[in-house]
């Protein structure tokens, strides 16, 4: 008998004693515990150092009273929370329009029909333009420019929405929709292109037309695949809603700045930051939950 055989004998029997962990499970558990301990210790150490450095700096007492005044925070936070709804409402008005308009632009860019060639050019120029211009400029130009044209006077009423035609509450969100649709269109386009050619071949071989293939086979897969990056864009939209304050829309950020201007204290801005976090963190959790559910539903093994 060789050494090799003896070695093999030692490991060959995976002894499973009921109620006890096997050798491998014990090892895995030890390793998990060790990683958790190390992670905890290194986090505590890092934060400890950061806090020590910041609080020991010469300017800290001043910064503390300017930015982290507990009494002010207690006053300002509830008031700012009252404006949260304005941000959420603007977001909810923009998001569906962005999805629809972004999808339209993406589909225009994907057309192969020569008759629709002008649409392709339009979509390409559109995405180049709105991705190239800073969002804040788009908001300025459209939000202030178009109402000044006074194309239409008076009020509009549409699907339960209503207001003055020349109000920033109309043109601000439109500017955001135009800018964000360009990004979202590119995300959709990447998703459409990521669906493998063999899927189209499979669909076409069954007699499905080009548009049926797009609608039933390509788009559902493309959209599912891009939901995480899309959510990323929407997270950023939720924050960029604050940019509409430059048009005079009073929302959390605008209100925080006006409190700051009155009191010469930056604590309301910190409170505003906390409010945005309260808003966006659940949204990121939602994305994670969705991606996991999707993966479980369609099966397949998960590589950890």
């Amino acid at each position: 008998m060789t050494d090799h055989d003896e070695g093999a004998d030692n490991v060959s029997a995976p002894s499973r004693v009921p109620g006890q962990l096997t050798r491998r499970e014990q090892w895995l558990r030890r390793r998990r515990r060790r990683s958790a301990t190390v992670a905890l210790a290194s986090t505590a150490l890092t934060f400890g150092i950061v806090i020590a450095v910041v609080t020991s700096s010469s300017g800290w007492p001043k910064v503390k009273s300017l930015f982290f005044d507990p009494a002010r925070f207690k006053d300002d936070f509830p008031e700012l929370l009252g404006y949260l709804w304005v941000d959420v409402k603007l977001f909810l008005q923009c998001a569906p329009l962005i999805v629809i308009w972004g999808m339209v632009i993406a589909l225009c860019r994907n057309t192969r029909n020569p008759v629709l060639f002008p649409l392709r050019v339009f979509a390409a120029v559109y995405t180049d333009f709105f991705r190239g211009v800073p969002v804040i400029l788009t908001i300025y130009l459209i939000g202030f420019g178009i109402p000044k044209l006074k194309l239409i006077e008076g009020d509009f009423h549409f699907l339960g929405f209503g207001g003055a035609w020349n109000s920033p509450y109309l043109w601000g969100p439109i500017a955001l929709v135009l800018a964000y649709s360009a990004y979202v269109a590119e995300v959709f386009r990447a998703g459409i292109e990521s669906v493998h050619e063999s899927q189209r071949a499979g669909a076409r071989s069954l007699g499905l037309s080009q548009s049926q293939t797009l609608r039933h086979v390509v788009l559902p897969q493309a959209v599912r695949r891009v939901i995480p990056p899309l959510m990323n864009d929407f997270l950023s939209l939720q924050k960029d809603v604050a940019l509409l304050s430059i048009l005079g829309i009073v929302e959390v950020f605008r209100r925080a700045t006006s409190i700051k201007d009155k009191t010469f204290n930056f604590t309301p801005l910190v409170a505003a930051a906390v409010i945005f976090l309260v808003l966006t963190i659940p949204e990121t959790r939602l994305v994670d939950w969705y991606t996991n559910r999707q993966r479980k539903r369609t099966g397949g093994t998960v590589i950890s």
Partner: protein, 252 residues
């Protein structure tokens, strides 16, 4: 009698002006009704391209393809109604991962043939149970083994009641045990009289199932003969050499 499928002097090449690669070089082939034709040959010999051309997934450069005596390769012809009559199964299954097995199968009957949902569903379930897949109707493709996925792909093509089935190396991605279950499905289609063109590397199976075997090399049909003749006394030296290599690799 006209052949069910007639491939007449088809030429096809890929690539640009300077690096043109001829994949099908004056290929001609007749497939009679209820006949099973196997295409054999090394990878890159043009088997898959020929099948894709028949299903109009690839346009041909010259020649013609006739289905029931009608030229289906005519430029400008609407390919969709023709593809409805031809079922195709791919090496990598090409099932739709976002749909359950049942939805995969009923998609084309409901959207293309406009059958109503209940009718398409019943037909699909019947086909599934015939191929012992009834318990998989609600599963998603990723939850199935390769052999099951390929059988679902065959059922999906059969649900359109095609007059002709094209099978493109349908067992090439499967392990030997799973190959068996897929081949059984093909045997069953044969007993039911389905006209089929198969590209395959399973020589034993090709010999068993086909009425005619075509050996392709570099886009040329070098030899076309009944299986017993082609496998025992090939008339072309290149065929003999190919078969010897196959035997040497233990695949026959």
């Amino acid at each position: 009698m006209t052949a069910k499928l007639r491939i007449d002097d088809v030429q096809k090449s890929f690539g640009g002006k300077h690096d043109r690669k001829v994949v099908l070089n004056h290929v001609s082939l007749d497939v009679g009704e209820h006949e099973v034709v196997c295409l054999i040959g090394a990878s890159g010999s043009g088997k898959s391209t020929l099948l894709r051309c028949i299903n109009l997934l690839e346009p041909i450069d010259d020649g013609a393809i006739f289905l029931d005596g009608v030229d289906i390769s005519e430029p400008g012809l609407d390919a969709d109604p023709i593809r409805r009559r031809i079922g195709m199964v791919f090496q990598s299954y090409n099932l739709f991962p976002h749909m359950s097995v049942l939805e995969n199968i009923t998609l084309a009957p409901t959207k293309v043939l406009r059958h109503d949902t209940a009718e398409a569903r019943d037909a699909a379930l019947e086909l599934l149970s015939r191929f012992s897949l009834a318990d998989k109707a609600a599963a998603y493709p990723d939850q199935l083994s390769g052999g099951q996925q390929q059988r679902v792909a065959i059922v999906r093509a059969l649900a359109m009641k095609p007059e002709l089935m094209l099978l493109d190396e349908v067992t090439a991605a499967l392990d030997p045990v799973l190959v068996g279950e897929v081949l059984n499905v093909i045997r069953e289609m044969r007993t039911e009289g389905m006209t089929m063109v198969l590209a395959t590397h399973e020589m034993g199976f090709a010999r068993e199932i086909s009425d005619q075997v075509c050996f392709l090399k570099d886009g040329v049909v070098l030899e076309s003969a009944p299986p017993d003749q082609l496998f025992t006394s090939p008339s072309h030296p290149e065929t003999a050499e190919f078969l010897e290599r196959v035997i040497a690799s233990g695949r026959l």
